[in-house]
């Protein structure tokens, strides 16, 4: 099986798609989460309720369903121009990316928010009273600590995101699981291809969590040590 270049090609496509989907969703999700954090600073209640609703929707609806809503449902109401633009490229991939990014952004946002909230308000007061400006206090006092609180849960969530990329197969994105299924249909060597795929998922997930543990060790959240 591994000597068949065609099969290897399919597997390669699967791995590449999974990795690209994961990395892109992580990056987009993080940017959206930052934007949400900024938006939530607006002291106007409807805005905050909307952000809360956004977070609750993405946390309480299964990721597969979110993907299906985007892929099957949203084209009905998206503007024609936008739809044409998406259809020009890889439609399935684009919708999977949108759904996964929005999904993970809700979790990232919560992690960032609790990271910032973990920093006592007295620290900001202290920073301001020794003469730092608001931005300086944020830059030198709050963020360096908040990041340390936020990074471990963000990495945990990223592992789940990595596993969730497999859900994109339901709409036909050629990611690893989808390709494994196709290779199985082509070769009937179910055991081999499933083992290879499982090991790949296992290794990447463990690698990400090892990376997370490394970061948590080097930059501990509490400064006691």
């Amino acid at each position: 099986m591994l000597s068949d270049p065609e099969i290897m090609d399919m597997l390669g496509t699967g791995i590449a798609t999974t990795v690209v989907l994961f990395a892109a969703a992580m990056a987009c999700g993080f940017c959206i989460a930052l934007a949400l954090t900024a938006v939530n600073l607006i002291p106007w209640r409807p805005v905050r309720s909307l952000v809360a609703l956004y977070v609750e929707y993405h946390r309480n609806v299964p990721t597969v369903v979110q993907i299906m809503v985007w892929y099957f449902g949203m084209p009905e109401i998206l503007p024609q121009a936008l739809r044409a633009w998406i259809n020009q490229g890889n439609t399935e991939f684009s919708f999977a990316l949108i759904a996964l990014s929005l999904n993970v952004s809700a979790y990232y946002y919560e992690d960032i928010r609790s990271g910032i909230r973990a920093i006592a308000g007295t620290q900001i007061e202290a920073a301001r009273s020794v003469g730092l400006g608001a931005m300086q206090a944020l830059r030198y006092v709050v963020l360096p600590q908040a990041v340390r609180y936020a990074v471990p849960p963000i990495i945990n969530r990223s592992i789940i995101l990595f596993k969730d990329t497999s859900l994109a197969m339901v709409i036909g994105v050629t990611e690893l699981t989808y390709q494994a299924k196709r290779i199985e249909n082509a070769t009937f060597q179910t055991f081999q291809i499933f083992t290879i795929t499982t090991v790949i998922y296992l290794c990447v997930s463990l690698l990400i969590s090892a990376l997370g543990a490394q970061i948590a060790r080097r930059y501990p959240a509490s400064f006691k040590s």
Partner: protein, 231 residues
Amino acid sequence: MIEFLHTYGLLFLVGSWPNGPVGGFAGTLILAFLGLAGAFPAALLVALARTGDNRYARALSTVWVYTFRSIPLIMIVFWAYFLLPVLTGTEVPPFSTALAAIIVYESAFLAEIIRAGIQSVPAGQREASRAVGLGYFQSLWSVQLPQALSNMIPSLVNQFVSTIKATSIVYIIGVQEAAFSAQQINSIELTAALRTYLVLALFYFLLCALLSKLAKSLETRLRNKRLGLAA
């Protein structure tokens, strides 16, 4: 929208029952509940091995937990779909296949919850119960687990929510549950995709948001109890 719900509400709620197997949201709930309940004994064993003194049992249970937490549920479902008929020698219905996969998958997550629960009981409790003459299992059964279990309840509810959400993928092997109903409706209606999937999402949203709220209030009550504030 009212007409849509009128026509398909029942299909969403119970699938093709009573003319066929129970599906829809009832199917989802049954699958999630049986999955979690079935995973509990296995998870308990894994958790005991993880907290125990036997080095090999500890290593094995650690491998179990890390493996099944690190691979997507779809992959486990496919494995079950492929392996179960080979192992049992007969055809296995989709529901049982999905249930087996969910049990294995959830056992890894549940084991960590149970482990945390057991470790949350002060060591003095175990030592004291052993000192008054209870055996290992007696101490576990009548002293440690009851306390651990009550500490675990909020996490268990949360895990139930995760399980409900996780089950939504098993429609791909033909299990009748909520996402399967949506798929059916979508293929009947053809032009109501957005409505269908939004209703599906709304159902999940209400169910899971409610359960998450419950978990949160249970957690608050538990914390107050620990702090001695409870009424």
